[in-house]
Amino acid sequence: MRAINHRSVKLGIATFVTVALFCISISHTVEAQNSTLFNPTDSFIISDQNSSIRFATNGSYSSATLQDGTWLFKDLTLYNSTRSNDLKISASNSNVLIYTYSASSPYSQFSRFAIIIFSVEGLGTQEFNLCLNNSQPTHPSEWGVVLPDGTFLAEGKNWQLSTDDTILISGLTGNVTLVHYGFDASEKGDLPFYEEHSVALVTLAVVAITIIISSIINYKVQRSQYGH
């Protein structure tokens, strides 16, 4: 009887943990806005440059225009993304297949995250502009060009960042992830001293208060213990 109870308790614990993990995995997908729909069979050709752009999933955009060998997709939303964003893309002597595109997180005032995962066929060049709408040009350290084995390529090795935040990729084939980790850097130079160093000052205050209060408490405890 005791063994059965033991087992049932263990089973209960295991069930709760499983349910907990299951609950977290339950999710709902936010629907994309509708405009012009496309699917994986649609191809966006850049005939002058012997290249094409395709998407691996269904999706939509409000407009798609080809200008000077560059496709500009307005309000592009892929099936596997919740947010729409503009995308400028160009390629030469290569075919690009885009799997995922998501940009400009609205969830943080500091973080601006953008990612595009694609595969390249043909040893040509590709240009991506993720239309980040940053107030100032991005820095190369905010960008990562990642190969499937997790290797981050340094700028200068197969990719370059231009002043308009366009990434030029060359000589890569296969799956590639282009990711931007950014933020809107706030200007701190003009802030008063206590605001510019508020965390350090708060820490100093916390440590000082902790030491003072704990010293007083321990002094009182010792006094009461030894009856002084």
Binding site: V9, I13, F16, V19, A20, L21, C23, I24, S25, I26, S27, H28, T29, V30, N80, S81, T82, T100, S102, S105, Y107, S108, F110, S111, F113, I115, H139, P140, S141, E142, V146, P148, D149, G150, F152, L153, A154, E155, G156, K157, T177, F183, A185, S186, K188, E196, H197, S198, V199, T203, V206, V207, T210, I211, S214, S215, I217, N218, K220, V221
Partner: protein, 405 residues
Amino acid sequence: MVTENSPTMVLSIYIIIVVLGIVLLLKFSRNKTRKISSLRFFIQIAAIFVIFMGLLIGPFNVPIFEPLGSSPRDRLVGADFLGDQLPDGIPIPILACYYPNGRTVTCPIWQLQAYIFPFWDYPRGYQVNYSTSGLEKIAAVIGLVVAAAIIFGRGFCGWLCPFGLYQDLLTRIRKSLRLRHFDFSEKTNIKLGQSRYIIIAVFILLSVIFGSYAIFGTELIPGTIPSGPEGTEAGIVSYINEPFCLVCPARPLCILVEVAIGALNWSYISQIAYGPFWIAGFYLTSINVTILIIVTILSLAYRRFWCRICPLGALTALFSSFSPFKHIALTRLEKDEKKCTKCGVCKRVCPTQATAMYEQKGGNVTESRCMLCARCVEICPYEGALKLTFAGKTLVKSRNWLDEK
């Protein structure tokens, strides 16, 4: 696929934790010498949820990305409320990586290393912007660790640390197999305890060597200049920043938990299958995994093996178990010498083989090896001989459980 968790889910998880806690308390509270352990076990499990799922503050109800090979943590809560002065979050002395919780809670060892190198004098971190110098950030981290250590001491290790829970679970597995544990000799145990300080000193020194260009203007190791073509995302900077994290045994477990809850992509685990031995993956290294395996085996044999050499435990002990901090620490293990019969049971049950509660005379018997787990308090059969106190108030004390019906 982008997914979103609703507040209802958060509430349901809370309810599950409470129910789980009640089940555990009901189960274990029947055992006279396991009442505190059962409470501690519940708190340890609840801490896992709080730390990794961001139940208190965190990215729980914002979309979770699942792109291949990239982190989903696009919401940095730490950055939201700490701004860009300490955007990586508040340091809490528990071995849990900076990944969880949108960096509201961060491992202080990671922070100390990262702010020496590569972010000593570099304005950008992983997705965040730093407006203050490395020195100021380090000062804030040490200050907060000092405050935490004065308040709870190594209670963090005993009651909250996820890696401590992992070792406790290994102990439970060993016990269920009816295998006896091994003990180190007193001399070896003391040496292990001392090695913690050497370990943390070595890794901090390594960080200083890597950060030599930013700190002293001299590059002691080639490839350690952040930014530039071979800088931030290339070569040594990508791989050997934060050297302790490359060997930390808790890291694979943290990543495993986060992959399990969907906060990280599976590729973070699968990456260990390829790449050179010393890196084998972007975040996870073969060294991490190897050390985890070794620590797991040793923890099966020796209770809380890692805690005896843990550099983070050393850092906490430094600010709570030694003078002058020992005299103002708020959480203490206290002994009433008059009630102690020197039976030695407290010494035998201590998971880290601390001996002060046996050897020292009455008063504050907290020592650097003591994790304030209160195992000695619950096993001591003499009323009030040992007690765990906070700010002079008794939290738990030993009872004459032999005479209890």
